[in-house]
Symmetry: C2
Subunit: 254 residues, 2 copies
């Protein structure tokens, strides 16, 4: 990168940082639905080229803070991130004091708008290892997409040992009341322990398309492993979340 | 975006996806320290322009999977992500079976290489609200940077009510054995409950510079609030983590 390109890049970032701060504070003119200053107005305000201002607006759009429509400029998104509680609500019931750092929607869960169930699938190696499947053993894979306010927010693929679930409602699209965990309980393998692992990376082409996000917006990969009382891993749910759509929340005692 | 630009972008992504998959599988020639195929070799292999191949390699570098040095091409990074356990190790001791989805370094914690303590600071509004500080009340802010193998991996800023900690070792760079939580305990405010909130966004210019990461690599914002037995928020630690450096891990019982 040349020095000039570097300096321009820094200006792009500084403009973007200013706009983001105004949106986070909820300044006048920067509330959900408000139209942001256009690239020409920003260029004049900061004394930069229009292209520089346009790139700053593009950064906000990559992060999912604004929505740009052709000819209509950029508007601050009114979408409220979803608050996902990783740990059962016991702690929240006792402690929940509204004292959360970031605002997010606590009250609603996204809906499933796509579901496929594949039996006798060959799972990826890292899934095979954790589910303790031999080289010939298969998995049942339940793939879902979740939407909120018509917007895709999460992909989820649950892997279960095929031999454990064959013939059970887990192999159906509709698993019945209580879902997968209730059915695992019926089978004598109620989940009693969970592990959630989280990392962040850029989406694959397919993930970006299914989530309707730009390929340069990162996704959260959250793998939730359910263990039964004997310590056996009975399900892995690999989630892929739009980072603009979620705040993750874990509450626990010392 | 024109159709042609879109098609080129998809090719960039597909090449990057292939390379990432090879690195994740640990294929021959794609292990830590290995030199990746150069842009010309990739361009020939995929039948694309060199620029397209170069952009694919740039994507891997943005994600922190490879390290590019001028004239030396791109090498697969040997850095192993750090596994951060959010919840005290009780559960892990009982259950830890090595059954983790993603490989990460469990054994070592990063070191602090920069620390500043600011007393009587005016905290940001969201911190003020959660710490229940009046408009005139101040905070003590402890800012640290953490490094692992010489590489910056995390920034952390702890906010505590000034009135609670004035005159205590919490206002010193070295807080003594057991750190901030032990000193809060000495003051009669031992943390007994925690809330961790996680979201992901692009870094500010300053965060990117302090973490030595590109401005287009996302960071994890993790805010950990500590509550005492009376339910009072006594500390908020706002962490900013290089997404390429961390796997977060939460284990808990149903």
């Amino acid at each position: 990168m040349t020095d000039e390109a570097g300096a321009q890049r820094t200006k792009v970032q500084q403009i973007a940082d200013d706009l983001k701060a105004a949106i986070e504070r909820g300044d006048d003119g920067f509330r959900p639905g408000d139209r942001l200053p256009g690239e020409n107005a920003l260029a004049a305000q900061y004394g930069v080229a229009s292209l520089t201002a346009r790139r700053a607006l593009k950064l906000l759009s990559t992060e999912g803070l604004v929505e740009s429509k052709k000819g209509a400029g950029a508007r601050v998104l009114s979408f409220q991130p979803i608050r996902r509680h990783g740990i059962p609500r016991l702690a929240s019931d006792q402690w929940g004091s509204g004292k959360s750092i970031w605002s997010a929607d606590d009250s609603r869960a996204p809906d499933v708008d796509q579901i496929t169930v594949q039996q006798n699938a060959s799972p990826p190696e890292h899934i095979r290892t954790v589910l303790d499947l031999g080289p010939e053993e298969k998995a049942c894979v339940r793939s879902r997409r979740y939407v909120m306010e018509g917007r895709p927010v999460m992909l989820a693929a649950s892997y279960l040992p095929q031999a454990l679930v064959t013939g059970s409602p887990i192999t159906q699209a509709d698993t019945g009341p209580g879902g997968i965990y209730a059915r695992l309980s019926d089978l004598g393998h109620a989940p009693t322990h969970f592990r959630e692992e989280i990392r962040v990376r850029l989406p694959t082409v397919d993930e970006a398309a299914r989530l309707s996000i730009p390929t340069d917006r990162a996704v959260i990969k959250l793998a939730r492993t359910a263990f039964d009382a004997a310590g056996r891993a009975v399900e892995i749910n690999e989630m892929t979340m739009d980072t603009a759509a979620y705040v993750l929340d874990y509450e626990f005692d010392a």
